[in-house]
């Protein structure tokens, strides 16, 4: 009797406590997404901001125009380049760091875990500004170190071929701490007896890593790679602060282009259509990853 009472009471309480979040998500997420979707079929622009009367429904014209837009393809290419370069790098670095921190040889694990995680919780804008100094061709510390080895000053952010790799380097440093923590949790869930059994069979460290650690971490790796790819596809603040999309639009990301069209030129309709193309791409990539993972497990 008492049990059923407390059950219904707590479920009501649960709804009560959930309500603010649900309402907030509805107002601040679903409504904007739906209106952006509608907006992507209109030519909402600066004239429309002044006088709503001037909005026209133009069907798929934004999307058609988008696929003819060289700058859109350029930004897509840049973003793909960034994702392809940064994702494996980030996963490797964070897995490596996690394995190091999980080993029993290292002292002061708490300190290292914290110091690897600090970049992740630091404000991105502040980090980007600091890294702009690090990359400075004349006064940057990176060129100073390279100079000790006789390397001529390199204009990291000003060279069209180097700007994106420079941004990759920075954002990997910034985000690997988060993935590392997830990997660490995954590593700690691997039963110790598996390793013990392998040791008894005479497996060396590398064989153990290949045969136990990697397969046991597969679900963790899937999760990490999805969130990493999804977040990397939304690359924006790093180039916005560090290069403004330049040089020669080589660091202009899809989100950067969306922002430029939307908030620089006020082509909100066009900008909304870019966001839905991005949404579609991320969705396809995620589904692909799930499929791949399932095939491998089966």
């Amino acid at each position: 009797m008492k049990d059923s009472y407390s059950y219904s009471y707590s479920s009501k309480a649960a709804y009560f406590f959930l309500a603010p979040a649900v309402i907030a998500i509805f107002i601040f997420f679903f409504i904007p997404v739906i209106s952006a979707f509608i907006m992507s079929f209109t030519d909402f622009d600066i004239y429309a901001l002044g006088n709503f009367d001037t909005v026209r429904f133009i069907g798929l014209r934004n999307y058609v125009q988008l696929f003819e837009d060289p700058l859109f393809w350029q930004s897509l290419q840049n973003t793909a380049y960034y994702v392809v370069l940064a994702t494996p790098l980030s996963i490797t670095v964070s897995l490596g760091a996690a394995i190091l921190l999980n080993s029993k040889l290292i002292k002061y694990i708490g300190f290292f875990r914290l110091s690897y995680f600090i970049p992740y919780i630091t404000t991105l804008v502040a980090v980007a500004i600091v890294w702009r100094f690090i990359y400075h061709p004349k006064f940057g510390i990176l060129n100073y170190f390279l100079g000790l080895f006789g390397v001529n000053p390199i204009d990291w952010l000003g060279d069209p071929n180097l700007a994106m790799p420079a941004i990759v380097l920075m954002s990997v440093w910034k985000t690997f701490g988060y993935n590392m923590i997830i990997f660490l949790a995954g590593l700690q869930n691997i039963p110790e007896d598996l390793y013990e059994a392998a040791s008894l069979e005479g497996a060396n460290e590398w064989q153990k890593f290949k045969a136990i650690t990697i397969p046991m971490l597969a679900p963790t790796t899937l999760f990490v790679s999805i969130i990493t790819i999804v977040s990397y596809f939304q690359l924006f603040a790093e180039p916005y602060i560090m290069t403004q999309g330049g040089p020669l639009n080589k660091t202009l990301s899809i989100v950067g282009y969306m922002y430029q069209e939307g908030f620089r030129w006020w082509n909100m309709g066009y900008s909304a259509s870019i966001s839905f193309v991005l949404f579609f791409i991320i969705m396809v990539v995620t589904i692909l990853q799930f499929k791949l993972q399932k095939n491998r497990l089966a």
């Binding site: 707590s10 002044g50 204009d155």
Partner: protein, 444 residues
């Protein structure tokens, strides 16, 4: 100790309830206090200014507040590179300030948004602000449909920064006055460095301004049909565009922009000897050209196409002060604009920041009249014009003109093809404008 979920919730309530009620009353109290302080009849004008201007204009505020008891000015700084975003967002959310500093090329956007007010009635009654006090070209940038929307605060334009010592070496005592002379001079400068990676003039493709300046000097109309279509394949524009891109083709100007990471350094190293830029660079050049270099550079107005029209045309730039439609203190705001437009305040601001005063009278002051770098600017301001006054102009200039200039310079398209494509792109951008114009016509 085991705790039932029930206990947890109860505990949560006992903690949260007093906390939230407490917060609620504290915030209510704060709101009440801030409301009652308004009763003292102090009018607060919100003034949004950009970058360093905001920093320095605060030094001019105390004097204004002393002269006008009962008005205080609240200056807020917004960064230049996010200014436009911030302003339009503020407009969309009804959070606009009373006064704002606007780049004068933005006036068309904000007047077509219907966000800023016409100032004609204020000007008619003003003892301080009169049309004749300003350079005609600059004043014109603030006019839309024959109404004034902004008062010039400080002004700028683009002129030539040049290496006088290199000019002399090339056999020129004076800066070039015509296009023809400019070209000849550049050839001679290039000939000073046979086989070396040095150039005469710097015309980077991430600056659209020179391409437009030379076209305007050639008499080109940039947009046609009531500013609703691109007119870049017109003979006049093509001629100027060709003239300018030939500097790149004949290796008188460097091709890429990534080689020049620091314009000033490159200027010091004679990588190029002419650079078309504005007054904001005077101090930078002074900083870099030190020691015996200090006397080796100077400024000159833009060359003209024909001998008898010197100086050639340049662009009317700068910032204006505007009043927003939703302002509740328009009269007080106008008073502040008048204060900033007094000759003495204009000069004071010049001394603080070296922003060139918009009021002509201020230029008679010795600090400007005797400054050798300013002479060229003074001359140039007599022949400055506005860019096409349509909200889409910024996008056309920054996104399209620059893009096609680069394509041509890199040889990916011929001038004819590129300008035809440019027109096509611009027509696309202006499609909405054509539709609006045709709709207006139907109404009539």
């Amino acid at each position: 100790m085991y705790r039932s979920p029930n206990d947890c919730i109860r505990q949560l309530f006992t903690i949260c309830f007093p906390l939230f009620t407490g917060l609620f009353f504290i915030s209510l109290f704060i709101i009440l206090i801030s409301c009652s302080s308004r009763d003292k009849e102090v009018t607060v004008i919100k003034f949004w200014a950009m970058g360093t201007e905001a920093e320095y204009v605060t030094k001019l505020v105390p004097e204004f507040e002393k002269q006008n008891p009962g008005i205080t000015v609240d200056v807020q700084q917004i960064p230049w590179n996010a200014a436009q975003e911030k302003l339009v967002t503020a407009f969309a959310s009804d959070n606009t300030p009373d006064i704002c500093q606007l780049g004068n090329t933005w006036i068309p956007q904000f007047s077509s948004l219907n966000a800023i007010i016409r100032l004609d009635d204020f000007i008619a009654e003003s003892k301080v602000i009169k049309k004749k006090n300003y350079f005609a070209g600059v004043w014109d940038t603030n006019i839309m449909d024959s109404s004034v929307y902004g008062i010039p605060w400080y002004i700028d334009t683009r002129i030539m920064f040049y290496r006088a010592d290199i000019f002399r070496e090339a056999g020129y005592e004076n800066p070039p006055r015509t296009w023809h002379e400019l070209k000849e001079l550049c050839k001679k400068i290039k000939a000073l460095y046979p086989g070396k990676d040095k150039y005469a003039i710097y015309l980077p493709t991430n600056e659209w301004n020179p391409f437009i300046i030379f076209a305007l000097e050639n008499g080109a109309t940039l947009l046609k049909d009531n500013n609703s279509r691109g007119n870049f394949s017109s003979q006049k524009f093509k001629e100027a565009f060709n003239f300018l891109t030939n500097f790149h083709r004949e290796k008188l100007a460097p091709l890429g922009i990534s080689q020049v990471t620091n314009v000033y350094q490159a200027f010091v190293e004679e990588y190029f000897s002419i650079y078309i830029s504005g007054p904001w660079n005077i101090n930078e050049f002074k900083k870099w050209m030190t020691g015996d270099m200090a006397n080796k550079w100077s400024t000159a107005p833009m060359p003209s196409k024909a001998e008898d029209h010197y100086p050639g045309v340049s662009l009317a730039g700068g910032s204006s002060l505007v009043i927003f439609k939703d302002s509740k203190h328009k009269d007080e705001s106008w008073k502040f604009i008048e204060y900033l437009s007094q000759t003495s305040t204009q000069l004071e601001f010049y001394h603080l920041l070296y922003n060139l005063p918009a009021v002509k009278e201020a230029w008679k002051d010795s600090s400007l009249a005797n400054n050798k770098y300013m002479k060229a600017f003074r001359e140039q301001f007599e022949n400055v014009v506005a860019t096409p006054k349509v909200p889409e102009w910024e996008q056309i200039a920054f996104a399209k003109v620059q893009q096609y200039a680069e394509i041509v310079i890199r040889g990916a398209l011929t001038v004819d093809q590129a300008l035809a494509d440019l027109d096509k792109d611009v027509d696309k951008i202006l499609e909405k404008r054509r539709w609006l114009l045709s709709r207006e016509k139907e109404k009539e």
